[in-house]
Every structure is written in C-alpha cells, then in structure tokens.
Symmetry: C2
C-alpha cells in the first residue's frame, strides 16, 4: 500500500494550517471556515500555496479538474456495460472501458436528497441531518414545503476543494439540499449554479403548489412548465439539452480563462419520472420508451462532454470524471423507470436495487483503462477520495464515514487496485440502520418495503419480486438474528443463509460487532427533514420580480412532515 488510507502524513501538516475548533451547534457554520469564505480570494491564495507545497511532497498528480456526473434515479442495470440488453449507452460503456468500472458502488441513501447530501458532505444522512425522526425508519427528502436544508455546519465538497486547492465549482442541474435562500448552492461552496432546486414531478399548479423555479446562482430565471417546458403527456423537454450546453460552456470557460482547477457537479434529472427527452431523441432508444430515450440523450451528452475534455490539452489528461446515480432505479414508476439489473427491488428500499448504483471513474493516464474495482464503496468514500486526489486534506474536526480510495484507484494493476481493505457499507432508512454489508456478506437487521396500505394503492417498490420474510410490508425487526445474504453467489438477495448453518454462525458475530460499534459511536446530527410549511414553497423566490413570477406567499403554518415510506 502506497499511502495510509485514512490520514496521509501530510494531511496533519495542512490541517494544522487552517483547521479550527468546530462549533458546538450544528446550526451554525464553522466560524473559521465562514471567515475564510468571506475573504475568499485571500484565503484561496493562501491555501493554493499550501496545496502546491503539498504537491511536491506527495506522489499524487497535480489536482485534476473533477466532474461528477450525478444521474437521477438511474439504475445500476441501465448501462449496457452493466448488462442492459438494450445497450442504449455507448458513450458510458466507452467511458467505463477507457476508465474504471465500479461493480460494487453504493449511494448512501435509497432516496435523492439524503444521498446527494452524503455525496457533498462525506457523511451519512444520519450525521449530516438529512433524515427525519418524525417516524422511525422512514425515507424523507426535500419537497417544496420542506423547512430545512443543508446545515451551515457541514463542509461541502466544493467548499473544501475551494478552500484547500483553490477550485472553482459549479452545479449544473438539480440541487435538492434545500431551496430556501440560506440553503442554495452558492451558500454552500459552489461558485456557480444553474438548475432547479427540487424535483420536476409535481403536481405543481402555482395555486396549491408553485411551479419549481430554475435558478441562475441565487436568483430565479424562470419556472419549469412555464418558461422551461416539460410536457408530461409526451415526455418531452429541452432541459437535458440546456444542462448539457451549460456544462460545455462552463468547461470551455475554464479552458479559456481559468488557471484554477474546476469542480463541476453535473446533475441532470431527465431519468426521474416523468422522464423526458428532447424532440430529436424521441424514439432514439432500443428500449423503446421515453425513459430509454432520456437515457440515450444523457449518454449522448456524456459523449459531448468527454469529447470536449479530450479535445483540449488543458483538460485531456487532467480531468477526472466520476459517473454515478443518486439512488437505485425508481421501480415504483414501472415502465417509466430504470433497471435494477439483477438486484432486488429499487429506490426507497435498503435492498441492493435501492443502493447499488452505476460507478465509473475516468482519468486517462492515471486510472487504468479497462480496470474494474470490485470492493464495496459508497458516496461517503467518494468524498474523501476526490479530496485526496485534489490534494485537499480531510478536516479533522468532525467524523466522516468513508475513507480515501485514491491510492488504490491510481494503481496500475488489478490486484493492487482490488487490494483495498473491505469497509462496511451502512444501509439506513431515515433514522434506522436497516442493513450492513461487509465483504461479500450483507446482514439485514430490519426489512421493509412499504406498508400494506400503500402497497394496496399500487405503490410497489419491488415489482415482480417477492422474497419471504425479506420484501416485507410490515417493518420486520431482525436485530436479534439478522437475515444474512452472500452477495457474491446471490447478488439478488434471494437465498437467506439459514440461521442455524455453520456459515451463518461464523459470519454473523462480525455483523453484530459492526452494528454495535457503529451505533455506539455515532452521534446523529439534528434532523433537518422534520418540518414542513407551505409558506416556504417557491412562491416568490429571489429574482421573481424581474420575470414577473412572484406569487402571493401564504401565512406560515409549520407542521411535521408526513413521510409514508
């Protein structure tokens, strides 16, 4: 092993130069960081120097540009390279062939907002606050009526990249970490934002619920359905075209004028139901559905972005692309959903179909072409890995849930690459630790799909699947005898390992210990997804006057959000 995974020695040096005691309250931003942020230019110069001095003493290459392509509800099985028989993703398949395919990569939640929060904070939702405790073990997210959003205490990936290595950061696409002014991307590390704060699925009517705005930085520039058309009947919209053009422009502007590395979070949402594609992609997919067409359009966009990166010497060998999705396929949307491939169930669940997502890391010359990373890893590992590759030290003032995989990902042999130590993956649903994966085993301490009441209305997170005692409609407590699966020989979680088998008895103590250690040491963050209030919806976002898009704001009436799943 080339480097200590958790704490390369030089990190200690650097943390000394800028880390300060963290605040006791999670509702306040780190004072030190906040001060730095207010004096951004000076600070950046300072840290940039520190970073440069690091470069010379580390074996990592100079900080690369980083593009994280974060899809919405795209399933593991949607990519040709992951076995979709339609092979509608030639550009992604090529990206994986030229880079590294992650076969055991996980989001950190089976739902959008908490998962995205983990990607950007390196911390599980239970720590960064993206959960509810209104009810135990329920998924929650940021609908328009949500009061909360990302805490100022959290240090986001763009904040640390900017802080540590002078990155310029942009978010193009969906945000979903809170839409009130204090939660917007530019308040949390991004230098540029163009996109939506919430889902496009509605129903929105500007009466009960306003249409979602598109923001440029802190101001709205129009609303979905009004100024940025989405036709839910024909599944058409030009949004992917716009998001792609914005991404290309952003990259080009960095090529043209910027000496700083850039971080682009490209986060289109065309594969979230109702899926959409632009006119010219109608009937473009072999899959033969709007969802398939949306996939083809996104794949085509990936091709364009890669081509731009490759066409310029300033980016060609100095840009890391990481492609993934915020959670598993939303099988609840049936034909308008992605594919879980061989995995059980989909979005909303803690089975493999809810968490296992596409993972491709591409960095020509640095990440071995055609390699495959088979170790289990998740969004909370991606966070320290990207920081490590960007030569930015991980702050020491708080707990992070992952560790850097950079030394392994930069290996030039498959065996070195896959010599990364096993690390546990924690599958939470809201405030409840439902399952743990470690090595090839996965133990379910709780199982639940959704309630009988919901299921009987046709809401099915596991269409076509039924595993006795596993795909349960009553929350089932197995904390005293977890349901154990071997994901190597049984990736579909179909065959429970008998509780009285020798294998079970050998393996299960490790899981009890992991569960206990994790639960004993974890300090949950304040939940930010408990409270709703219709007055916080997008009635009159900043900038609405300019576009004549202001709507009357109803009086405030906070209530505990309902989270049925």
């Amino acid at each position: 092993m080339l480097f200590a995974v958790q704490q390369p020695w030089f990190l200690f040096l650097i943390t000394f130069t800028f880390c300060q005691p963290h605040p006791s309250s999670s509702s306040n931003h780190s004072t030190y960081y906040h001060n730095q942020h207010q004096h951004q230019v000076d600070h950046r110069v300072h840290v940039h120097h520190a970073s440069l001095s690091l470069s010379s003493s580390s074996a990592f290459p100079s900080p690369p540009n980083i593009i994280v392509m974060l899809m919405d509800d795209m399933g593991f099985g949607d990519l040709g390279i992951n076995g979709d028989p339609n092979y509608d993703t030639p550009n992604l398949d090529a990206l994986a062939s030229q880079g590294m395919l992650l076969t055991n990569f996980y989001s950190s939640s089976p739902l959008c907002s908490p998962s995205r929060a983990s990607l950007l904070t390196g911390r599980l939702p239970i720590r960064n606050g993206f959960y509810t405790d209104n009810v135990d073990g329920r998924n929650s997210y940021t609908p328009q009526e949500i009061v909360g959003g990302i805490s100022d205490y959290e240090l986001t990936l763009p904040e640390l990249l900017s802080f540590g290595s002078h990155y310029h950061s942009a978010l193009i696409g969906k945000w979903h970490l809170g839409h009130r002014p204090q939660y917007l991307p530019l308040k949390h590390g991004f230098d540029m934002f163009w996109g939506s704060t919430n889902c496009h699925f509605g129903p929105y009517d500007n009466k009960a619920r306003p249409n979602i705005p598109i923001f440029e930085n802190n101001n709205m520039v129009g609303r979905l359905f009004e100024d940025f058309a989405i036709n839910k009947a024909t599944f058409t919209s030009n949004l992917t075209q716009i998001y792609t053009r914005k991404a290309l422009e952003y990259i080009q502007s960095n090529i043209d004028s910027n000496n700083r590395p850039f971080f682009l979070l490209w986060s289109p949402d065309a594969t979230h139901a109702p899926s959409y594609r632009s006119e010219k992609f109608i009937n473009s997919s072999r899959r033969g559905s709007p969802y398939g067409d949306a996939l083809v359009e996104l794949d085509s966009a990936v091709g364009q972005i890669v081509q731009l990166i490759q066409s310029n010497p300033r980016t060609a060998n100095n840009t890391l692309i990481f492609f993934t999705s915020d959670n598993g396929a939303a099988l609840v949307s049936k034909n308008d959903a992605g594919s879980s491939g061989p995995f059980l169930c989909g979005k909303q669940t803690t089975f493999e179909g809810g968490f296992r997502v596409p993972g491709i890391a591409w960095w020509p010359g640095k990440i071995k072409s055609g390699s495959k990373f088979h170790k289990a890893a998740s969004f909370v590992d991606l966070f320290p890995t990207l920081l490590d590759l960007a030569e930015v030290p991980l702050p020491t003032d708080r707990d992070f849930d992952g560790s850097s995989l950079a030394p392994f990902w930069l290996s030039q042999t498959d065996s070195q690459l896959n010599s990364a130590p096993d690390r546990p993956i924690y599958f939470y649903r809201g405030n409840r630790l439902m399952a743990i994966r470690y090595g090839l085993y996965k133990a379910h301490f709780w199982t639940w799909t959704n309630s009988w009441a919901q299921f009987k209305t046709g809401i099915d997170f596991c269409p076509g699947s039924f595993v006795q005692g596993i795909t349960t409609h009553t929350p089932s407590n197995y904390t005293s005898s977890p349901r154990l699966f071997h994901l190597g020989r049984d990736p579909s979680e179909h065959y429970v390992i008998p509780v009285n088998s020798a294998e079970y008895k050998t393996i299960i103590p490790t899981f009890f210990q992991l569960y206990q250690n994790h639960s004993d040491t974890l300090i949950p963050g304040e939940p930010v997804l408990n409270w709703c209030d219709n007055s916080v919806m997008h009635w009159s976002p900043q900038g609405c006057e300019e576009y004549n898009k202001c709507l009357p704001v109803p009086p405030s009436n906070p209530y505990k959000c309902e989270w049925p799943h």
Copy 2:
C-alpha cells in the same frame, strides 16, 4: 442486403445434386443420406468438389472451422459482459469484445435435451420429436431410463457439414440426445465423441441406476464417480480439465494433419448442478461458490482454446467460435445455479430466464470486432447460419424453423448487422406453444411455473420472483387474451400491458396471426420422450467388458415416463 436469407441462389443448384425425396416415416433415416453415409469417403469427395465450385461463385469466405461451445445451464447473467457484477469471465468478455455479442439470443427449449436437439437439427423440439405428449405442456429430456433418442430421419449439423463441405466433426462433452447404441453421436454425424451421454446429477448407485459412462466414440471407457471422479460433497472433479485437454488435442490434430475444416461441439457440463471444478480452481471466483469456480474454470478453458486457435495460421482467421448455453440458469438449484441477470425465472420456464442465453460469435476479420446483434434469434437460426457460413445448402425435403443470419453477421456496420428482419421466436413447453416473441413484444398464450404440489416441496423455478397471473402454479390459458410484454422497456416481464390499452389492441392481432399460422402449418414429429424402461439404462454399454464395468440388465418393462414439470 447482400444475399437472399433463406435460399441463396446457389443452394438450389447444390440441392439438386444430392437431395432426394425424404421418407414418409420419421423413424427411418433418409434413404439417400444413409447410402451416402455408408460410402462416406466417396461421397465426401463428391460433395467437396461441389462445395469448392460453390466457393468460387459465392461471396462467403472459404468454409471456416466451426467450434460451438455449448454450456450446461449457464445463465445469461453469468457473463461479466452480460452484467454479472462478479466479472468471473474475463476470457468470455474478451471473446465478445473481439467478436459479436448477441443480446437477444434464445435456446429452443428451457431444458437440455430438446434444446440440444434443436441446435443440431435446426428444428424445434415439436418437430424433431424431443418432447412428450404423455401430459400436455410438460418439459421432458433424456434420463437414463429413456427409450427414445434422436430420430434417424433428422439430419444433424455434423451430418450436413460432412455431407456438404467435407467437415470432420467431434463432440467433446455431453451429448444428451439418447444413449442407446443407435442414438450415439457417431450414428448421427460425428466422427469422434468423447464424453457422457447423460447428466451427472444422479442419484446413481449401480443398483437402482447405474453410474453414467464416459464414451470414447461408441464404447464406454469408464464410469462417472468410479473412473472419472466427481465429488458432490466438495464440488470437485477434473472433468473440465479433461474436456479441455481433449478439445485442445482435437484442434491440434486438425491443425497438424487435416486439410478438412472441422466442426467441434464442445459441451462441458460443469455448470450443471451439482457444479464442479478441479482442485486448482477451488476459491478461484469472486462469486465465491463452487458454481463460480466452475465458471472461472470454463472461462479459463475458453481462453486456452482461443489461444490455440489464434496461435496457428491455419486456424487464426479461419475459425468461427460460437458460445452459448443449452438453456437459462437452473435457479431451482439456488446457490448452486447460474444467474438469469435481469430476466424472469429460469430453466424449465418459458419466461426470458428460461430461454435467453449467452451468445457470442467470434471470427476475426469476418465478424466485426465489438459488434452487437440485437435482433431476436435462436438455436434454430444458428443451424442454418452455420450451414450457410460453411457453404452447405439447407435441405429442401423438410421444414426448418429458422433462417440464416450469415449475411447480417458478416456485415461490417452495426446498422447493416441489425437490419436483419424480425423473426418470431416460439417458446414451447413440451407439446404446448406457450409464448411467442416478435420484435420487442412477447405474448404469453399460456403461463405456468410448476404445480403447487411441486412448489410446496421447495422446487421453485422462479425464486425471488412473483408476477401476478404470470408466475402461476396452475397452467393458465390466455390463448383468448395473451399476456403481452414489451421486452425493450420491460426485459424482466414485470409489467403486463393492459388488455384494454391501445397498445395491446394494436399489437395483439399480429400475435394471434403468428400463433394461428404456426399452429396451422406445423406437423409435429413423433414424440421420442414418451417411453421409459429401466432395462435401457447404462447397465452394460458397449465396451463394458474391457473395463469390467458390465452390470446385469433387468428385464424390459416399458412404461410411460412421468414428467412433472
């Protein structure tokens, strides 16, 4: 389109030179062919001349060597390139990358013997007799007590290859088309045979049921478990090593001494439960199971065979390899089974998991590297395709169920390749036409998994899956309103298209017509899998004296075989 698919013009010339009226009885071999077979050398010279004259007038390259690698119960989802997250098949994945991957390829039965019979005759089991009508809609095969086997009337692939283009043919591995002397491979076109006639799964004890012999040509050379060890407790055997060595020797002998093209059917059975691997492959798989190890060993064997082919100029560019499996994954064997990938159910069923199988066609310089064939095709198409590539005309004295894909497979553009016309795929279970696929749609006229009685004993062909009205345990007759699926957007057959939808009403008439046309014109062959008799088991196969392996033959007592599935 370069050639007429069904009947290139030159075929008419050639059929004139050697085809004769076919016999009225299916129990007799074609008289003409039989005569030719008895005077094989003279005949071959004759046909070889004809073939040579053909070569000069056709655009096909000279007849290639043909290797069909036919796996046993290997599932579509077992290959890395088909999405298995374990990626235990690097050599197969490379073979597909260098050649053509078939994403919509089907066996012609969800069970071994009928499927293999179709591959070797180009005719559906209902035509070639590999079915039973003891009970309607039941799978059947050739256990040791089976009286029947492949009819002399059938013209097999090796017979036609030998007959038409002077091929030398060998079968190494499992036969499974009948084990009584008249049904053995050398009586049906193969010039060499080394392997077993039946499954290794048993139970065999030499008392109630003799251990299965290994044959060399027409004589037994030992018995499984006795002379060719299979340890069912440790899942170990050297059989794959032996089958591989035999294949390498056969190919080398053709390289060394033979000017004739060769046809090798390589048919190892290590992935049939109980799976087995040799000592050195124990724990070799990421999957972490004997089945996974068996897969790794077979993959390694494929690598060795390809390497030998590539290493010699006499074979390097003149050998077509086709890799496939006899049916879908035997999910009934749970952890000792392959993977159906995203498809519903497995072996024994007429859902995608029962029929969709791996398909790779590899022929450097002729079949485009990295291409993908997306059109639905099956074993009965492979038969005329291979004959076409071998410049052997399809006999005109009988009905075949497929048509040649050679002109498309030899295309050098993806669009030409996939311009092959849609053709229906017929999913039979025994004597019952259960489903038809055409284009991207599949209509189920009948559904059934297995009986409640069987299911309650733990026999489950659809573990983890349940689709209301589809994975039924009572045979369900939908001939008046077939259950329709769109396999593009729903490859898993989870979402039945509503009978009252516009889509259903538009599509379903085509399926009624296909069903009617097929049923009206089909003349079923005599079923060969109706009768069983303990006296026909391998008590004293030819050659047993030499090895002191003869067992007393019980008196004949024919009875109708029981086929519960």
